[in-house]
Symmetry: C2
Subunit: 245 residues, 2 copies
């Protein structure tokens, strides 16, 4: 294919910029590296039947009660009142989560997911499932928006780095005419040899590290620890079959 008839690959650095993109005609990858989308793929990798992302603690409690699901979510680094579990991927090993439904409330990731509801397809991405995401995007051959959940709409390092890592891996299959994508890839190239050290300057790292979550951060920055593809269907994230590219 020539450059011009390859599908587009773009990066949206904040939900507050999503209206500038042609969501309706694209596959959108929701990126919330620390820690929502890392935890979602980990729960599914470990056999969760599905993950239901919800916006509020109240919804989480109500849906969890109605369907007998595991309710989870944090606010300010603590398990939210009324919920049972937190946002750490390590809370969802196979012997706990297999066959169950996780009802997860996160602020940034869930907000973006609902904003992208008209997309051709929505999947979630993070370092623990980067290969599944990349294989899927290449196989689909559709325009792609890598959507960073950011932090309260502010551009953040970890989601930008993941978007850059995806651009780096799949750009030969796409037409990349997007300065955010070029910048994200450049940033990733600078960081990739020691991404954990690079992240130590980032604002969210400092926030999470204050809660003693270095182990979570290491896991969330490491490729392919939970390499499945969560795909959004009828309000639920389920494990998709990943075609081999």
């Amino acid at each position: 294919m020539t450059e011009s008839n390859k599908p587009s690959l773009e990066v949206c650095l904040s939900p507050a910029l999503l209206h500038l993109y042609d969501v309706k005609n694209s596959i959108v990858v929701i990126i919330d590296v620390l820690r929502a989308t890392s935890t979602i793929c980990t729960a599914l990798y470990n056999g969760a039947a599905k993950v239901i992302p919800v916006a509020t603690v109240e919804e989480c409690v109500n849906i969890g009660r109605a369907i007998g699901g595991i309710t989870a979510g944090e606010r300010d680094g603590k398990v939210a009142e009324g919920l049972v579990h937190g946002n750490s991927p390590f809370e969802y090993p196979r012997d706990f989560i297999e066959g169950k439904t996780l009802v997860l409330t996160t602020t940034n990731g869930t907000k973006l997911l609902h904003m992208a509801k008209d997309a051709i397809q929505i999947v979630t991405g993070s370092f623990p499932n980067i290969s599944a995401v990349c294989d899927y995007l290449i196989a689909q051959g559709q325009p792609v928006i890598l959507g960073c959940a950011a932090w309260k709409d502010r551009v953040n390092m970890e989601d930008t780095l993941f978007a850059g890592a995806v651009v780096n891996r799949i750009k030969d299959h796409f037409n990349v005419d997007c300065d955010s994508a070029i910048a994200a890839e450049s940033l990733y190239n600078t960081a990739k040899d020691d991404i954990y050290s690079f992240m130590q300057q980032a604002s969210h790292y400092k926030r999470l590290a204050n809660y003693g979550l270095e182990k979570d951060i290491q896991f969330c920055l490491t490729p392919d620890g939970s390499n499945v593809l969560p795909i959004f269907k009828n309000g639920e994230l389920v494990t998709a079959e990943v075609p081999v590219s």
Copy 2:
């Protein structure tokens, strides 16, 4: 000073994100590298009495007529209908612009400037006046927002690179707890040894290069060709005295 009592230094990558920043308590640097803010400092450097930034061609025509100013502005790479001059810094040599008022309409830069009107102070920045901007910011000792004009709200390479260059120069005097600032500086560090080549991947470069403006782009990416500080007062940009830091 310790880190925590230094003033903050933040980067806002798009006007659509400006509401997330504390504009009212900050100095805002308006950045529209290709080419509005490069042309503004060049006109002032060459002796223009002032530059009046306006949003529309109609305002430009009306104000230009009322005060006998030079009307300038482009739309889609051509001098806009009803105006006399374009956006190139090379259109404003001393023997033409000295003592005159330039009434300039640009879309992205002017929009951001008006959005930042409640700031402590507004100045404009670009590579041709980077030293004046940095000296000023250090001397003021106030919180700073480096505001990228972007391209129709989409993050662009050239404004991000300039923001990163400023962060790189002045960060020791500020507290940088902003992932956009850290990312912009990293990008600048990657690009700085050959910023012109780096820019050739950027979307705006391609747009302008189509109009044959490589000479403009070279000038707009080169430090200190027009090293004065445009400061916004009562709707006009005038040359400020730059304190020595």
